[in-house]
Amino acid sequence: MSELSDTFEANAREAAAIVERCAHAAGAVRQAVERITANTSRIVIGGPEYVESEIGNHLFELPGVIRRPADEQLATADAGITGAFAGVASSGSVCVALGMELSATASLLMPLHIVLLCAARIVARPRDLFDPACLGGEGLRRNLVFITGPSATADMGPLVRGVHGPHRLHILLLE
């Protein structure tokens, strides 16, 4: 288990994500998120279903969190928080299920995306999620996106991180 976490962490960092390990407890997560968002004022939470609801409740109490944001607030928010239903060790990807309350927008529109991933939900390789026996076959049922690092482009000459999608991807690895 911890071997998968280590591989995941190394590969996610290689893809320019920030990885931070954190105790799987509401207080610890809240503290971490508070610290990460210290300089951001407008935060949107997109259904963190894959962590306990208690964590969700704690996060909603954070200052700066916009409950039920209007679309123009989504367009101007600074940070989005979502859960990930799986992580992939070999590539350092996180899998975010779409179609849940705001998870698509909260993982895309803001410059900073904070994603909460339970270490127990890390699989070895991307293709594992296409096995019906893996994580209850969720990878085959859902609309989802494998997110590997922040958005990036090489179209303007040198490699630039931060294009249309988030410029920073901060993964909280919950253990």
Binding site: S93, P126, F130, L140, D155, V160
Partner: protein, 759 residues
């Protein structure tokens, strides 16, 4: 003044030379790209290429993934009609619409109607090359709808009004400086746009506003699952996610070949596509969407919140006809990863505005252009030299050179029979089907015939071929560039000399072999064949020398497939007796070797016969290494590095086809074991590529490709002094010599020179 060059149009815009059904446009485009685009293209494609090698070698099951992907695509195309039906049912059941567009125009008309029904003012597009194929922007803009390209590369192209030059990085021909200049002039801005970050920020801000306001979002699809209607969408920037998420109407446009039977079957493509395309483990975003999405679409204040709508537009536009074509069929397996573009030396040098048509480019591009347009549009595939470096890179194992040889053959058949070509063809007994090929092609394709005559009176032939008038005539009528030195005919061919050397035979031989007297070695560089004989005999091999027969390589490379088939069949039937006699076939020229190892699978009707020859044909040095291994003898028992006339430090450039058939490693390993210090070139191809670099039309391109190789020699010699140059192919030898003016040896010649005399 040089009349052979199209006069004064370096300032061609890429659009004006996009259609290369006229060969003049191809030549203009080569000049334009060499003048302007080449540095950016080289840098970007070579980065992709290096990253791909690294990423694919890190995949523990790369070959198995390729097999799976190939099998899934074969099956998907075979059952395309059933899959289409299934997909139709599931998309409709989910509340989406699906439209099978027989032609490009019908695809555009359908999408325009959707836009008009919604009174759309602004359409935002993720990257879709299929939408470029059908010219969607043209239709929408013609109807007064604003189209915003949101992929940054497509954004650049929209600003510049150019066609894509690469299938996954459509503006790869632009370096940062040229983008800055373009934006400053088109947007009349004083903003500092001197870094990638500043340019990206500038474009992002313009496009963010478009995403939020767009009425319709258009994306492509990398794959579509027939059982669930799931689209697989691969990207790095986030624009495809935005285009499919924010506007209320999502239109996905894709070729029908993108449909595979199930969502589960997408699994092997995940890592394979990323690794083959950008050389990443996974690109930033790989989405799996079964639209319409559940999320409510985006609506800024004042805009009504609409119901989501989804339209899947599947484009035929010639694909169903390709499916029935025995050769082009394979094109439909293509997953558009660009590995064949990035691993191609010519593409690395000129990119897709020269090596490409109006939409598609590179090795696979000719087949796509011919299949979705007309055959003549594939004329640019002339730039495929058949070097075969792309073959092992294709994630679905498409034999891309074979596609291009067939396109060439079809173009040959369609061209007018020329007087000179027809005469040459008749003389050299080219297959009747191939006689309408241009004279240059017949000359190179049937080179063995002319070589045979030349070799009868070598001094006379060399004297004649060396005169200016003859070189002028050869350039004028055969397209043979005057600046190239021609191989001179040896005083005695390999076969003639070998006949005079008595075969020893005191001890029972360690092995029995036949040295195949390939045309290039026999009539061009017989000393290589003689060196092979000396080495093999020193290893106690009973070695015979075959007659010199063209095995078909030369004809195949000119697209003279019927002639190549005739040659291949005749060659194997003549060589069969050697196999029956228990002899292995040993070959000096790697392009001939590759015919037996690879290409003949297409030319010999009997698959068993191909296998038998494939298994028993060897590169000379590979064979030497094998014998040593089998006998358990050490290389140093036979070869002594101290005897080397050129020192112990070497630079080795292996032939492109030798790399593809996997027999470079025995040479480098053997030479290292003997005690040599070797630097190997890392270029895909030297640029000569058989006859390619001899042709007047392609001389500049050939030398530009070669520049990388010459540079690598210079780099390797920095500080340490000169290295002895080795090359395994006849034409690579000439190219390396042309670039360095130095002597270039074949590894077998070096081995012959350092043989320890037997006691």
């Amino acid at each position: 003044m040089d009349k052979s060059k199209p006069a004064g149009e370096i300032n061609q815009s890429p659009r004006t030379v996009a259609n290369k059904s006229d060969k003049l446009n191809l030549l203009r485009a080569i000049r334009m790209t060499l003048e302007i685009q080449s540095p950016a293209i080289r840098r970007n494609t070579q980065t992709f290429n290096r990253n791909r090698y690294r990423a694919t070698s890190a995949l523990p099951d790369y070959d198995a993934l390729k097999d799976q992907a190939r099998q899934i695509k074969e099956n998907a195309i075979a059952h395309l009609s059933e899959n289409l039906q299934k997909l139709e049912t599931v998309v409709r059941a989910r509340g989406g619409e699906i439209f099978l567009a027989p032609t490009a125009k019908e695809a555009c008309d359908y999408i325009l109607a959707v836009c008009q029904r919604h009174d759309a003012k602004l359409v935002v597009k993720g990257k879709s090359i299929t939408s470029e194929e059908v010219r969607l922007n043209h239709t929408l803009q013609g109807a007064g709808i604003e189209v915003a390209e949101s992929d940054l590369a497509e954004f650049i192209l929209q600003v510049a009004d150019e066609q894509p030059s690469h299938i996954i990085a459509p503006a790869l021909h632009y370096g940062r400086e040229r983008i800055t200049a373009l934006f400053k002039s088109k947007f009349k801005t004083e903003l500092p746009l001197d870094t990638g970050e500043e340019l990206t920020k500038f474009a992002r801000e313009k496009l963010r506003e478009k995403f939020l306001r767009a009425d319709v979002g258009v994306t492509g699809a990398n794959l579509i699952a027939a059982d669930t209607g799931t689209l697989m969408l691969v990207e790095s920037e986030g624009n495809i996610r935005m285009s499919s998420l924010l506007p209320p109407v999502h239109v996905a446009i894709a070729g029908v070949e993108k449909i595979i039977p199930t969502r589960r079957a997408m699994a092997p493509f995940l890592e394979l596509l990323s690794a083959s395309a950008t050389g990443q483990k996974m690109t930033s975003y790989t989405s799996f969407l079964s639209p319409p999405l559940d999320d409510p679409p985006f609506a800024l204040p004042g805009k009504p919140r609409k119901q989501r709508e989804f339209h899947l537009v599947l484009v035929d536009n010639g694909r169903m006809k390709m499916r029935d074509d025995p050769v082009l069929h394979e094109t439909l397996y293509c997953i558009r990863c660009s590995a064949c573009l990035n691993s191609c030396a010519n593409f690395q040098t000129v990119g897709g505005h020269a090596f490409g048509g109006e939409t598609y480019s590179g090795g696979i591009g000719g087949a796509w252009e011919a299949g979705t347009g007309k055959l003549e549009n594939a004329r640019f595939s002339e730039l495929c030299t058949g070097c075969s470096r792309c073959v092992n890179q294709c994630p679905v194992r498409i034999d891309i050179p074979w596609l291009n040889e067939n396109l060439r053959s079809r173009l040959n058949e369609k061209s007018e029979l020329s007087t000179i070509g027809g005469f040459l063809g008749l003389m050299s007994a080219a297959a009747a089907k191939d006689r309408s090929a241009p004279a240059t092609k017949i000359f190179f394709g049937d080179y063995h015939y002319f070589a045979k005559w030349g070799a009868r009176f070598p001094s006379l032939s060399n004297a004649i071929a060396g005169t200016r008038i003859v070189r002028w005539a050869m350039e004028r009528f055969l397209g043979l560039d005057r600046r190239r030195s021609l191989p001179s005919f040896p005083r005695h061919t390999l076969v003639a000399t070998a006949r005079k050397i008595p075969a020893k035979g005191e001890k029972p031989p360690a092995a029995k072999a036949v040295l195949f007297a390939d045309v290039f070695t026999n009539y061009g560089l017989p000393e290589r064949g003689l060196a092979a004989l000396r080495v093999l005999r020193a290893l106690n091999v009973d070695v015979a020398v075959s007659e010199s027969i063209p095995e078909g390589r030369a004809a195949l490379s000119q697209g003279m497939i019927a002639t190549a088939k005739k040659c291949a069949e005749r060659t194997v039937s003549r060589l069969q007796r050697y196999l029956d006699d228990g002899r292995d076939i040993v070959i000096v020229e790697p392009s001939s070797l590759a015919m037996f190892r690879r290409d003949c699978r297409h030319l010999l009707d009997d698959a068993g016969q191909f296998e038998r020859f494939r298994m028993r044909t060897f590169d000379t040095v590979e064979y030497v290494a094998r014998l040593l291994q089998q006998s358990g003898r050490h290389a140093k028992d036979f070869f002594d590095v101290v005897r080397s006339p050129v020192g112990a430090k070497l630079f080795f450039h292996a032939h492109c086809q030798q790399k593809t058939v996997g027999c470079v490693e025995p040479t480098t390993t053997l030479l290292r074991v003997i005690g040599f210090d070797i630097v190997t070139s890392s270029v895909e191809c030297c640029g000569m590529a058989g006859s390619f670099g001899y042709k007047k039309d392609f001389y500049e391109l050939s030398m530009a490709v070669g520049a990388d190789l010459f540079q690598q020699v210079a780099e390797a010699e920095k500080g340490g002094g000169p290295l002895a140059l080795l090359a395994s192919g006849t034409s690579c030898t000439e190219q390396l010599h042309a670039g360095t003016h130095r002597i270039v040896m074949h590894p077998i010649e070096l081995l012959a020179a350092i043989l320890i005399p037997s006691k």
